[in-house]
């Protein structure tokens, strides 16, 4: 078990997401940066589907009340065990009574804590991913208890670690496909879309990222249709919204681009005032 001493701002349990319930309005959810979440599980030789803790740019303090094998991947939020630096992307045995803290961001936005065997919070509709109205808990709170599996620690090699490509956290271009309504854009709109350096507004969350710059919107309103994580919508005001993992299943704004999986993961490591350009593939 892990006890939450200090919860941070918006931290959640996530896995690869909740599939099969889209037609009753249930969002997919899942780790925002799926690449880093899977990497943390992979380093521990967990299953890809095991649940991890997603920690978003905030102070967080966790108490282990039994021995655990852990790995942190994704953003570097200066993780420490009992005030001693904990290297990222490495296997580490932590003991009963140890305290893990995350605090000052060095690079990236979202950090992933995996424990050997995965977090054992409740499975609701085939997934442990927190979502308001689906799981009882939707964000981590002080004094929450996160169940983990009992593990024999003698088996592991506490030195194994992997090197990662920091480009994942510093990407300045995000690759995207043409969205279903891309064809409706005129020449100027298309040029603007591919040439503009877009800035992430402060309105960014697990549901979506609003961008600051405007693209003239000349479209008539359209009938509501399905949307996906990574869909870039053009709103009536001309601002773009990039939908993220917790997005609704349907929406009524033109879907002008669709990010690649890799681009969604990279965007998940960006926040307010970060900038990027879209790069159209195909």
């Amino acid at each position: 078990m892990i006890k939450v001493l200090s919860s941070g701002f918006y931290n959640t349990i996530q896995d690869i997401g909740r599939f099969g319930y889209g037609d009753i309005g249930v969002p997919v959810s899942g780790a925002m940066d799926m690449y880093s979440a899977k990497l943390a599980n992979h380093i521990l030789r967990n299953k890809e589907t095991d649940a991890v803790l997603e920690i978003t740019l905030s102070k967080c303090k966790l108490l282990f009340d039994k021995q655990c094998i852990v790995c942190i991947a994704g953003a570097n939020l200066s993780p420490k065990i009992n005030d001693k630096d904990l290297p990222l992307n490495s296997v580490k045995v932590v003991n009963k009574g140890d305290v893990l803290t995350l605090d000052k961001p060095i690079y990236g936005v979202r950090s992933y804590l995996a424990v050997k065997g995965g977090f054992q919070t409740n499975v609701v509709l085939n997934s442990r991913s927190f979502y308001r109205g689906i799981t009882d808990e939707y964000i981590l709170k002080k004094d929450d208890v996160l169940p983990t599996k009992s593990i024999k620690t003698e088996m592991s090699n506490p030195l194994s670690s992997v090197k990662i490509d920091k480009g994942h956290f510093r990407a300045i271009t995000l690759e995207a496909y043409r969205g279903p309504e891309y064809e409706l854009l005129n020449k100027e709109q298309r040029a603007k879309l591919s040439e503009t350096l877009f800035t992430i507004s402060k309105d960014n969350s697990r549901m979506g990222y609003r961008l600051e710059e405007l693209i003239a919107n000349t479209f008539e309103s359209m009938l509501t249709s399905a949307v996906l994580p990574g869909t870039v919508q053009l709103t009536p005001s001309g601002k773009l919204i990039v939908l993220m993992r917790d997005c609704q299943v349907t929406g009524g704004y033109p879907r002008i681009l669709q990010l690649t999986d890799d681009a969604i993961n990279k965007l998940a490591q960006k926040t307010t005032n970060h900038t990027f350009t879209f790069k159209l593939s195909f």
Binding site: G133, I134, P180, L228, G230, D261
Partner: protein, 238 residues
């Protein structure tokens, strides 16, 4: 009908851009055929008024092959239409205690509150699809006289079960949510329950009829639901 790739995990199929019961029938028939085909790689099939989006777990290697497969599924003859559709009787209490915006609609539209309630509970609405929130039904069939613009300042909290009007649409909030629709009543029924095998009782193609109930009946249904003995009134739609 058009078939488009939508990213590299999804295919979007679109019918003419209309809210139309005949298009919906064709959409649902096709959706059921896709589901019956039991593909290992398809994880979600989401329909709206005039579209189906098919979501694949792996990346789609050959989009043309997948579209060809879908086209042959569309043309395949289905001997039986598996999914039965129901008409659900949904109790709604239009008391002013819950109908927070009834007075305003009444004033601006020049309609008696009782006639608003009659007009809202008279039609048999069609469930076109479910979206926005888990268990939120997109209903078609609102009386034109009741069309009423969304509030310019959305409420930060609309309570679970609230029945609202937003422009030409009407619907029920399945969970506490911020919302800009004008609230005219409240239903004691739960529209989304993760403990049930089918978390949302309704599905695309079903019908809904609102039954006006008083405060006492509302409380009685709440108690019955708590005891687990509330029985839905429903009938099969031909």
């Amino acid at each position: 009908m058009t078939y488009k790739s939508y990213g590299n995990h999804a295919i979007l199929i679109e019918w003419p851009s209309k809210i139309d019961e005949n298009i919906l029938k064709d959409v649902i028939l096709f959706k059921n055929k896709i589901l019956k085909n039991n593909s290992k790689v398809i994880v979600d099939v989401i329909n709206t008024y005039n579209s189906i989006t098919i979501i694949y777990a792996p990346t789609i290697k050959n989009i043309y092959n997948e579209i060809l497969t879908l086209k042959s599924i569309y043309l395949s003859f289905s001997t039986q239409f598996e999914g039965k559709n129901y008409c659900w009787n949904i109790p709604v209490c239009y008391d002013l205690k819950f109908g927070l915006d009834l007075k305003e609609i009444s004033k601006k539209k020049g309609l008696e509150i009782d006639s608003i309630i009659d007009m809202h509970s008279a039609p048999i609405y069609t469930v076109f699809f479910i979206g926005f929130l888990p268990g939120f039904l997109y209903l078609g069939g609102l009386n034109e006289k009741l069309h009423f613009d969304r509030k310019s300042n959305p409420r930060l909290l609309v309570e679970t079960g609230s029945v609202g009007i937003g422009g030409s649409q009407t619907g029920i909030y399945p969970q506490n949510s911020a919302g800009g629709w004008n609230i005219i009543g409240k239903s004691p029924i739960s529209f989304f329950d993760t403990d049930k095998k089918h978390p949302c009782f309704a599905k695309s193609g079903d019908k809904v009829k609102f039954i006006s109930i008083g405060l006492i009946e509302y409380q009685k249904i709440i108690s019955l639901i708590e005891m687990g003995s509330y029985q839905f009134e429903k009938s099969i739609v031909k």
